[in-house]
């Protein structure tokens, strides 16, 4: 359950920014979570609900998560695959220079408040 420590960092970052912007109440926080990032969205939401309820700024806030599937690309021939088709040995040329180009994200994209 490392999601709790992650949410603590998310709330700290949004709180710091919101204070600078003069925002007192946050309504939505939008995040992108990659499927290879070892983060479980339902656990993230639950942690957000529990930790958010401890701070009036986040009392009514919801967490919107955009899940980003893993996407790989072969550095030798440019072959790409996504989700369950992703492999780390190229299916076209057999090359091993296959890199993850998305699916490892864990970002706070934006938030809304007043």
């Amino acid at each position: 359950m490392h999601e709790f420590s992650l949410v603590r960092e998310v709330l700290d970052a949004v709180r710091e920014s919101a204070r600078r912007e003069g925002i007192r109440r946050v309504s939505t926080v939008e995040m992108t979570v990659g499927s290879m990032g070892c983060v479980f969205p339902p656990a993230l939401r639950q942690a957000f609900e529990i930790l958010g309820s401890e701070d009036p700024m986040f009392e009514d806030a919801t967490l919107a998560i955009e899940e980003s599937p893993v996407r790989v690309r072969c550095g030798d021939c440019g072959w790409e695959a996504e989700g369950a088709d992703a492999r780390f040995l190229c299916e076209e040329c057999g090359g091993t220079d296959v890199k993850v180009i998305s699916g490892e994200e864990l970002t706070i994209d934006s938030y809304e408040g007043e």
Binding site: T107, G113, E114
Partner: protein
């Protein structure tokens, strides 16, 4: 319904990576260890893969020729730390209090508590878990994982992020392969499918099989530091 009272709703774009704090602390750890001339490894695995037994054997083999320090992450006990401390290595125990991984700030505090003078090798034994430690870099020079053959060869595919975050894998308990009716290649093939560049050492911490290759690797890394 929330009464916004006619106030203006503002949308702020942050585009901030989570775990930046951890990354920053990891970079500081790596710098302090490098400055002190210490080669460091972060060892990860499932519970019961044999990390601590490998560590005990490694200490027996290498302590006569180099100074080794250990940071031991454990959820709530000191059992592992007692086992390695008995070997005579400087050991700092971190109890995570239920948390499933070590993070860089906590390891940084442990490093501050240590006497790094003359230390050649620092081994950080992470909490046994194939998921949570993945994203939390600690600042070690190399991330190493231990996969024991009793866990089955499907683990790399089930935990690809962990297997891709490491550059060295010890496949432990190879003495049990005949009992399990499995071939070593099943494990090495599965690992290479997920991480083609992985350096793989098949070992048995119990019988000592293959351990010399692992010791030689550590000796070389320490020498080239």
């Amino acid at each position: 319904m929330i009464d916004w009272g006619g106030e203006i709703v503002i949308k702020v774009r942050l585009m901030k990576k989570v775990m930046e704090n951890n990354q920053a602390a990891a970079a500081i750890n790596n710098r302090s260890l490098n400055d002190a001339g210490v080669f460091s490894v972060d060892m990860m695995s499932s519970p019961g893969s044999g990390k601590t037994t490998i560590l005990e054997r490694t200490l027996d083999a290498l302590l006569p020729e180099m100074k080794i320090a250990i940071i031991q992450g454990d959820v709530d006990t000191t059992r592992d730390a007692q086992r390695v401390e008995a070997r005579g290595a400087q050991t700092v125990q971190i109890n995570t209090g239920g948390a499933c991984h070590l993070d860089a700030p906590v390891v940084g505090e442990a490093i501050d508590d240590m006497d790094l003078e003359g230390v050649d090798l620092l081994v950080i034994e992470n909490v046994g878990n194939l998921i949570c430690p993945t994203g939390f870099e600690l600042g070690a020079d190399r991330r190493i994982m231990v996969l024991s053959v009793t866990e089955g060869s499907d683990k790399p595919e089930k935990y690809p992020a962990m297997f891709r975050s490491c550059s060295v894998a010890l496949v432990n308990k190879v003495d049990l392969l005949p009992v399990l009716g499995l071939e070593l290649e099943e494990f090495t093939d599965e690992i290479r499918r997920i991480n083609p560049d992985m350096e793989i050492f098949p070992v048995s911490a119990l019988t000592g099989e293959g351990m010399d290759t692992w010791y030689d690797w550590l000796r070389r890394e320490v020498r080239e530091r």
